[in-house]
Symmetry: C2
Subunit: 242 residues, 2 copies
DNA sequence: TCAATGCTTCGGTTACGATCGAAGTATGAA
DNA sequence: TTCATACTTCGATCGTAACCGAAGCATTGA
């Protein structure tokens, strides 16, 4: 009872919806500013500021001043592990947040996950890239193959340019609506940007859902055909442990 | 943000101190009644009742009616794993609950953990029993040896009687103040009861700390001498993985 | 049938914390 | 210097949920 580590304290830290949203927004390891996190949490910056200082005091976050910005990150990867394990548990209990209303199907189909494509289409894209041999998957780690580099360059992605950034090129990101992995990292971001640039799709207002044009959808589906049966093994491999 | 399982919901469930206390009280796998859990949480039965129904609705607990009692247990061992992982995390962040004030040293020395002896003396007792060959330890599982049965019977413990109960005889229980294991199970309970019966010690009011008489303390320390060097290996074994 | 026990439900109080407007501090740019 | 941006702190409001007393229901035992 009054014994043991104080699970109530960190439970309470995670238990506030705004804080939980900010934490999940940080789960891909990027550093975000207080203002960005306020948006992620759906609150004003003042409120976010108090939340962030609580999270920092609780050892979940660290901050790094850079100019007039303050970049927040998860304190270390044990925090990420903790959040992941809670997510996994919550998923088994069916504690998925269902936004009722007409927006939900669109969100499930295609949406922005930070800066890359998620949802049904996001999972399909990664599956297709793996099936085509463009990306090799070992456990959760993804790697762009030579064939993939050629292929993506041919459709207008500046792969060499992406390589020069500090951010990892390929990253597997768990898709909670699909319960499968999709492609994150700078490559995932570049691909989504290219869809916007080509006019295949656009964001809807302030929502995170992505609306494809009929022409864009046709092209997308042609570019990333459904993975066929014999590729299931590779795909499952990429999703191992999730 | 609005994506993924609702970690805030289960965070909030664990985030209330009373609920957290009730959950940790259930972590040894036993089923406890609502009244017992109310005591564990330090609240009235009415309040406990509402907490318990919330925890049940959240999928953390299940209840089983038996006569006019309602026995609550953790829904399954994934809940235990979850709580353990949070505890582990909380411990690394230094989120140990320190009761300030004079009571704390007494609590660390000897206290009740559900129904058995915990704290420094609890750890010492188990170490000593292992060193004496009364209990054999393989990983976290403890077993009473024949020599141990003879020994304990000679000091007035009705081992055969304890064997007839459904509850496991020996159980290893992690001691958070010592970060080491102590003896739980029906044998742990019986030993503590015998200390009370013999007048060696008594509970203090409503606190969980146990006060030894000077005579009782002398006898206890003589009965359970400090484990010597060469037994460290066995003891560490018993504490493996904690 | 009646009393006792274990637990839940109801009603009302209270306290805590999430929230935001407004003001204050720090950094960078003009 | 002045202005703009990024963020924090202060102060006040407000809503929710934790809490308990009292009453109600269910089970057991006499």
């Amino acid at each position: 009872m009054k014994e043991g580590p104080d699970i109530a304290q960190i439970g309470a830290l995670i238990g506030d919806p705004a804080r939980a949203n900010m934490l999940t927004a940080l789960m891909d390891g990027r550093a975000l500013t207080a203002t960005e996190l306020a948006a992620a949490g759906g609150i004003t910056v003042q409120t976010a500021s108090t939340h962030l200082s609580k999270l920092e005091a609780g050892g979940l976050l660290t901050q790094r001043k850079q100019g007039r910005h303050r970049y927040f990150t998860l304190a270390d990867d044990s925090v990420g592990k903790l959040l992941e394990s809670i997510m996994g548990f919550a998923a088994t209990r069916g504690h998925l947040r269902h936004r009722p209303g007409p927006k939900e199907p669109a969100l499930r189909k295609a949406r922005i996950c930070y800066d890359h494509l998620a949802g049904d289409y996001g999972v399909r894209m990664l599956d297709s890239l793996i099936a085509a041999g463009a990306i090799s998957a070992v456990d959760e780690s993804l790697r762009l193959t030579e064939r993939g580099e050629t292929h993506l360059t041919s459709i207008g992605i500046d792969v060499t340019g992406l390589r020069s950034t500090r951010r990892p090129l390929c990253r597997s990101c768990l898709d909670w609506s699909e319960r499968r992995a999709h492609l994150a990292g700078s490559l995932g971001k570049a691909l989504l940007s290219s869809f916007f640039d080509k006019g295949w799709a656009r964001r809807i207002d302030d929502s995170r859902s992505i609306l494809f044009t009929s022409e864009g959808e046709r092209r997308f589906l042609a570019l990333f055909p459904l993975a066929t049966r014999q590729t299931d093994k590779a795909r499952d491999h990429a999703n191992a442990g999730m």
